[in-house]
Symmetry: C2
Subunit: 404 residues, 2 copies
């Protein structure tokens, strides 16, 4: 009889956002007259920018004509997109990342879940706590995380780096040396960023100790302060120790379009083995490229018109962030984030647990947020609201919360 990968059985509950979706659906079914405002899952609400729509239509037309039809994409992405990324996201910031170090994918979620395949089965990971749950869950499925303690909600073989109000949400370096360090900056969910000299400390630590940093920069477009790096490659020496994950979901509203990329520098090696070559092999064997039309949409993100339109879109969401942060503060909440990130991280009132506050907010304000404990044990007692709603709903949600 065949046997399953029993690491899956170790996972407690379902994926965080699936659980939230089910809870919300059940509430809506029981209360069909209630108008629910979703500030939970981090999904965008604004339509794709006109420059992107134009690029999509043009690419669709190409697919309808034999002379301009595109079949299988190059394994690692089209050169036109990889070059636009290299030029705009890296070279323009003084980072020496070439087009052939960029691997185009169907999104940062897939990449952040798949990147662990490059590492040995007994690798030990470190994560900031709280953090995006995919990093830990994908390693659970691969059998690296040891046993789960339901009491502390921690895994025995994961190094947690708590980020709470006590340390200003800035994690300390791990006490034991990990093989892989997941950093998400600007942070999901806390909204924290590190300044360049703070991030340099992590790069130096990784190079000194032989760790790899998996740097998730999905929210870099929301950075408003000038001394915060948008890429880890702004730090010296990062090319020998860091992989960077990027998304088009939040800077360009591609959550339903699906496009992302991962940078694996050619200098990143384990002995003689290039991780760039390994990821290329993984991409070629287990993935078949992002859609041509979607890659053309990605290219339009870097056009002059696209840049201008998306700057406005980011500003729209950051105005929501300000609305939420100010409104919550006025209502007496203790709030963090929202300056360099589209997330507001708040302390739950009255010693409520994160899930108690989730239910309270859903039932009394019909507002959906995300329980902080879903991002890790140090998220308990916190709650995340996103700035990705539309403005009118964001204002309405805050009015309801203030009226509680």
């Amino acid at each position: 009889m065949f046997q399953i990968n029993d690491n899956f059985q170790k996972l407690p509950g379902s994926y965080l956002f699936s659980t939230i979706a089910k809870k919300v659906a059940a509430y809506q079914e029981a209360n069909p007259d209630k108008e629910i405002i979703r500030l939970g899952i981090g999904d965008v609400t604004q339509p794709l920018a006109p420059a992107i729509i134009d690029a999509l239509h043009k690419a669709v037309d190409e697919m309808g004509n034999a002379a301009t039809f595109h079949g299988y994409a190059p394994d690692l992405g089209y050169e036109f997109l990889r070059k636009a990324i290299s030029d705009n996201d890296y070279k323009a910031r003084g980072c020496d990342i070439s087009a052939d170090e960029i691997f185009v994918s169907d999104g940062a979620k897939s990449d952040s879940a798949n990147i662990q395949e490059l590492f040995s089965a007994n690798s030990r990971i470190a994560v900031t706590d709280p953090v995006y749950p995919v990093y830990v869950d994908s390693n659970v499925m691969a059998g690296r995380t040891g046993t789960y303690d339901a009491q502390t909600e921690t895994w025995s073989n994961v190094i947690y780096m708590p980020s709470t109000a006590d340390n200003g949400f800035v994690p300390e370096l791990p006490k034991e040396v990990p093989d892989m360090i997941y950093l998400c900056l600007p942070n999901n969910p806390t909204g924290t960023t590190l300044k360049k000299e703070q991030l340099q400390v992590w790069v130096d630590y990784a190079n000194k100790n032989g760790s790899v940093i998996i740097f998730d920069a999905a929210y870099e477009a929301y950075i408003s302060e000038s001394d915060v790096p948008h890429s880890i490659y702004e730090c010296n020496g990062a090319k020998t120790c860091a992989i960077e994950l990027r998304s088009f979901s939040k800077n360009a509203g591609f959550t339903g379009v699906r496009l992302g990329f991962t940078v694996v520098p050619k200098e990143l090696k384990c002995g003689d083995v290039s991780l760039h070559a390994m990821w290329a092999r993984r991409h070629g064997t287990k993935f078949n490229g992002a859609p041509y039309i979607v890659q053309r949409a990605g290219e339009a993100v870097y056009s002059d018109a696209g840049k201008a339109q998306l700057k406005d879109q980011v500003a729209y969401y950051m105005n929501n962030a300000k609305t939420i942060k100010t409104g919550l503060a006025e209502a007496g909440f203790t709030v963090y984030g929202g300056v360099n990130a589209p997330y507001i991280w708040l302390k739950t009132p009255d010693q409520m647990t994160s899930w108690e506050f989730f239910d309270y907010l859903l039932e009394n304000a019909n507002v959906v947020g995300t329980p902080g404990s879903g991002f890790g044990p140090s998220g308990e007692g916190y709650f995340r609201l996103t700035a990705f709603g539309n403005y009118e709903n964001t204002v309405k949600a805050l009015e309801r919360i203030k009226a509680l």
Copy 2:
């Protein structure tokens, strides 16, 4: 110092089609005046059908409007697409597969590579030989295949089921019981199919022995004979032993659009554990849905207009298959396939190895095919040509081959 997943180092050479692409590019660079005809990689050449183009444009317009914008898709795919699949591909054929047993993905290549994650690390796989290389390579990366013997080009822990002219390309049941059996029918590369009673033998074997069949039906649209099942669920008992992989690449020309799906029946269990629940968890944690616009394109495949247009497209390619098969036979080649599949499988002439014939054909006819040995050791001495070129090039390629 971090350690890599050293299973990657066990893989001999690069992924088959990457190797071919590099060889062809090198030849073209050295011979810029030569007009190369590609009948190698299995990529389609005809443009997307008008019904699909219309659906794409309409969906793009929706994405440009806040009221009809779509963000994150449901984890498992949109209901409109899953229902269309269930109704048309399954219920219309008498297979009791419901919409919620269908998992929409970015393509069958990803799914065929990822599905092994559900099984224990020490599972043993069986593959027909020759076969699509992703099945074995993805298991190599996961460490299941033992050691590689460069002499025989086989893995010590893989059960090979040879399919050669000696057995009419119909594999025998494995002599040792595998945990997972990969079947690709109609077969890539040989073009072989099994009749329903032949496939029933495999289903009965799997149920009796506790094996899971991973059934890749990517080419089912090319079946022309009436007694050949399009789905493994046409066989009795398949829902307790089989996972089915499907693609939109070949029936609808989506190689560059990226859409596929996997069926995991709810009855498929290991003890109490549902593989359906496991795959749902995997999808929710490590994947973020296929693009909305692409799922709408998939829906259009099942519209009346889409069906009629794609029937013509399949007929176009099958006319190419006939042209190749007839032409090669006239030129004295021994040829197989091409009746229920878009692939022609031929015996290399003059005892040439598969790669020798690849070079010979590239250099002397400027035609690219795929060396049979790339699909497994029993493919040595064979060669694959695809019917996915355009008609004019297919005719021209055959003229060149005949003139050799």
